[in-house]
Symmetry: D3
Subunit: 264 residues, 6 copies
């Protein structure tokens, strides 16, 4: 690619991907509402409020691919989610439509299905069971992406990210961990494959204790290499065993089901 | 019920249900942003902008059941859909949570799945394929309702309405027609059944040429009585045969797939 | 048939079937541990304790068909269930094996799946979720029947009876009612079809509010004629509305899930 | 339609359809290798050997629709099946491709799945289990039709005819009967629907004892009106009960599984 | 755990697990009707007849987990199976209910499904097809365990053990072998996971030629390490090739389908 | 085996298998219409036109196993396909029936399903979607093989070969490659297993980017060892990236969907 856009580039995951995705394009365009580290060689930095349609158009113009990590990525009051994840997503897809339909990696979330029990294994077509407003906004996003695919042919990978951290650090992450290496290689595969369509892709490593079934994806030619199981001994040594009666250890969404937003 | 709320009561469908649902409750509360006909005996009228949280709370307070027909019901620019169907729905569910969780009939739509071909028969778990922004807003609404069910036990019937009109008047309605009688008897069954949960229910009559399979619903004890087939001769006599190459006659969403909003 | 055996013939259902099945065979052999009304023309009466193997062999000898209604038919302490429904069933199948393998109608029960929620529709292959020891004994019986089919070719209809009563008399029976006429015509079809195998058959009438799907059964050539819905007004007038928080109105097994046996 | 072609028009079924389909087109073109009754008003007659490509092209030219009943319709030695059902079908589809792709009703057969047991209910996607060379030739035909649909958009209804006779006359036909009325109304629906695609359609009436599930077909707007069950008493009176050990009464294909061709 | 109970501890498998499971608890309680080797450090030995309810209560009291290997583990006459596997299992679950519901590993068996052909791959929900009375008793046990889960929340792992031996020693074991290491690590995972529920788990190693699909189990975090394929050359060298016409080499239950019990 | 027949032995794949399968039988009989290299030790060579029934009978007589690679293996005009793949296959199965029913490996093809999109993963029961006349002939062959299995017990492995070449040399082969080693070990497993039946087996290596799911096959005890992914860098360096708008990169059948035969 000539220019790859990474949104939410100032966030934790964005800063990681900024480095790892550099080989994918001549120029990496980095965008965020928060302050970004200054551009290095072959980088461009833009400030962008996703709820500002004109700004989003400017951000998208000239890009051949988009890794959309921007917007709110944890549970927040509805008005905060509305701007970045609802209006912002609409703005992003309208901008993509206006600017040549670059392929999009959409950072969706396991919180679209967080109310399934941890003893169930899910395929890509399991009906939504979001665990909070953040999860609902990601359901909205997936539906919007599908609309633009059916209507305009816009391709998107709907990546339902588990826990994308340097290492798994608690019991739940034994099931949900998605290593930085595996996410980076997945993004590479998404941009490499000649036809993408608009598939749901579970964003997790090859965890022995995984909940999500990516076997529909053979054609992508991507195989995760990491396995949270390698960290089990460490986790068992350092963290307390989950209480089975706590919703946190019963539902896939973990502590999102004990959402404090609604407790006000 | 003591008090049943009908939102969108000034609309075409709202005016019909206002009359037919009267026997279900001692008082019918009618709400709309548009002007309502003056209240008759056992009716209350309220003006309510769904995007105004306080107004929605006031509207919901004191009701034992809600038939939510309000919001935008056709394709519209995104900013119009945002207020009524996104923010408005959040307001409605927060109000229901604050006011005793009255059972809700949510007027969802076949436009959540409008991009399926007309030669496919759908069950309730078919993944979303919305045909426009309106359809996407209904996907959002269904996901939000499911969240409130899993988190708080709020019961909702997700009724994906086909074409709810006095009579079927074109070829597509031979498949999608939902008679006023059948919708009214469905609402009655929804409020009658002792456990509802949060099911998807296809809103269509017993049409010979129907696309949607309600066989998962036996337990509701509802059977549609009307069949659009009885109107076929009339329709064939009065309306031109659809052109097979037109998307309108290939996809279940009909002319929503030729959405003028996006043509600007 | 020359001789049809009805076990449990002194029970409520047995007394009904005694009359209705008379046309199916030259002789009806009636058996029960309890006292039977004296034999009428073309009837034979036998006392039989199902847990007594020799008695069961004697009872089965010479019969061309068996309608097995015998054993315990409600929740009871385990030792009572053991004799009639576990040992008794083994005795019955061994006797059938020794005496020409007459086709068997086995009165299984909806209590094999009583812990499914009332909002779910079940096919014949849904995994067992019994609601009590009685239900577990019927799971045993179905497994035993399947063994004798696979090993010896013994044919059995595994009829999961709902509520076989003269009329539906409460809310749950709107879903579970199985009219005497429909059970009798089902038994007739079971003995009429040239190949039976060992199918699960839901024993319920054509109830609008039914939970069970017999669509796999087309080949049997049996259609129920009755519909509990015709009795809804009567039931709603005479019985109190079920409390939605009571397990009785949440699970298909009804009040079996509030099983007093385990309360001791 | 202006001109509808019926092949195999001198056969039993062809002679029936010749009369019944007259209202569907201005002109009915009748073709067969066997001698046809002379044309009546609005009819044309052609002699055609299906294995002669040029003759088939001439037969198809100028037609808007085709009801293909031609070829061998019972079990025959392979060389006879080869000409009419293999080469002949290829000729027909090549001719249709050359002459405007008229919609085709292809008389496929239940003998494509004749080795399924009679106690199984089949949907349209059950893998083939043909019961003879005739059945294999119909599998070939369905695959060829699908190829022309995927490659060229040629629409075909793959009608797997059961037993299309004036009345059901034996036990098996209680399951397989397809009344002339129902076949005629099905053909009418096939030519009426605006998009057809290339669906499998089971050709049987609404028989209580039917084996085949057409519920995927809602969209066609066709409902069979007849039911072989009405003839059960007559059949039971006049024909001997099938022997359960005879393959004829175990497999859906009936006596085709006792195929004499292979007995040589 | 403080105290783990192993029943059937004097049996072949019990003696192996006695050693391997020692690290799982402070004290291992060993129980059997047969004579046990004397207790070593951190062990307790009890004699227990499973059909004696009082003895079973005493055995279960004070335990935090149970590995239930006790009862009859091969085909036997019904009266022997009745005591240990039917009455005994009821006693065990009643005792567990009275004593704090320790988590249970129930040694179920592949003989619950032994009549499936060897060319079929099975998931956990395949309907039962037991191959003998022993298999039927395990179906009973699984249904009983499910009842106690649905009614009381008692958690059980329903482990359908294949062939748990030191090494695979015949052709069938290439598919069914379950190494001691893999069973031990599975038990460890079962007691480790925070929520268990009541799942069916296939008890076999990672055999290339395996018949059973554990892919629903990801969440357990258990992966078998052994593969019977490593022993193929040895088996082919030492044992005669199975005769394809023998039921033993056609059905998954192997020689259980040639059950001598029924031959009397 | 004493004598293994390889048809099509002069072809590319035939020449490879001639060498690799030598250990499977005392004698390898090689047959082709084209000129074969002279027989080596333990080899026999025969010229055979598959459309000549007598020649095929002679070829098959005395063989214990058949690897049928013969016939046309690429898209060709229909008359060429007819002789080798339609008539020839019938001749082969009739000859096998007459000569002791040796087990057959039938080289079917991915072109039976070539019109599925590359973003779909297929199991063995996906309905046919052939991409050309060659693919249709393989559908015919699979149906014929199934007939001979159901009617006579003739066992066949229906191997849907992907791209069986020394190395993968283009983008599509990253998904379809079937290494010579993997095909040879598969054939070995097919002849080794005691019961085969008539299964569909996808002929591809363990490619990361594979489209086809062989997980139904556990029982065969065969695991592919090669993975086209190891060749990705080489392919990406040497071949142009496929154009996403070209059918070749959208459908599984690759350039067969641009079939020149039909372009005449």
């Amino acid at each position: 690619m000539r220019r790859l856009l990474i949104t939410g580039a100032a966030g934790q995951l964005g800063r990681v991907m900024r480095k790892r995705l550099a080989p994918l394009a001549d120029t990496i365009r980095l965008a965020d509402l928060a302050r970004l580290d200054p551009p290095e060689r072959d980088e461009e930095c833009m400030s962008c409020d996703l709820s500002d349609a004109a700004a989003v158009h400017e951000m998208v113009a000239g890009c051949d691919g988009i890794v959309h990590l921007g917007g709110v990525s944890v549970e927040r009051p509805f008005d905060q989610i509305l701007g970045g994840n609802i209006v912002g997503l609409y703005n992003l897809y309208e901008a993509a439509r206006a600017h040549g339909q670059p392929r999009i990696v959409f950072a969706s979330s396991n919180h679209t299905i967080g109310y399934y029990p941890q003893t169930e294994r899910l395929g890509p077509d399991a009906p939504y069971r979001p665990d909070g407003l953040y999860g609902v906004s990601k359901c909205f996003g997936e539906a919007l992406a599908r609309l633009y695919f059916d209507k305009f042919g816009q391709e998107t990978a709907l990546v339902r990210i588990g826990s994308c951290t340097p290492e798994p650090t608690n019991y739940r992450m034994l099931s949900t961990w998605f290593s930085h290496d595996d996410f980076a290689s997945m993004i590479e595969a998404i941009f490499r494959v000649s036809t993408l369509g608009c598939p749901v892709i579970w964003g997790s490593s090859a965890n022995d204790a995984g909940w999500w079934d990516n076997s529909h994806l053979g054609w992508l030619g991507w195989k995760p290499k990491d396995n949270a199981e390698a960290h089990r001994i460490h986790i068992e040594a350092l963290t307390p065993r989950p209480d089975p009666s706590d919703p946190t250890s019963r539902f896939q969404g973990g502590d999102f089901v004990n959402n404090p937003i609604f407790k006000e």
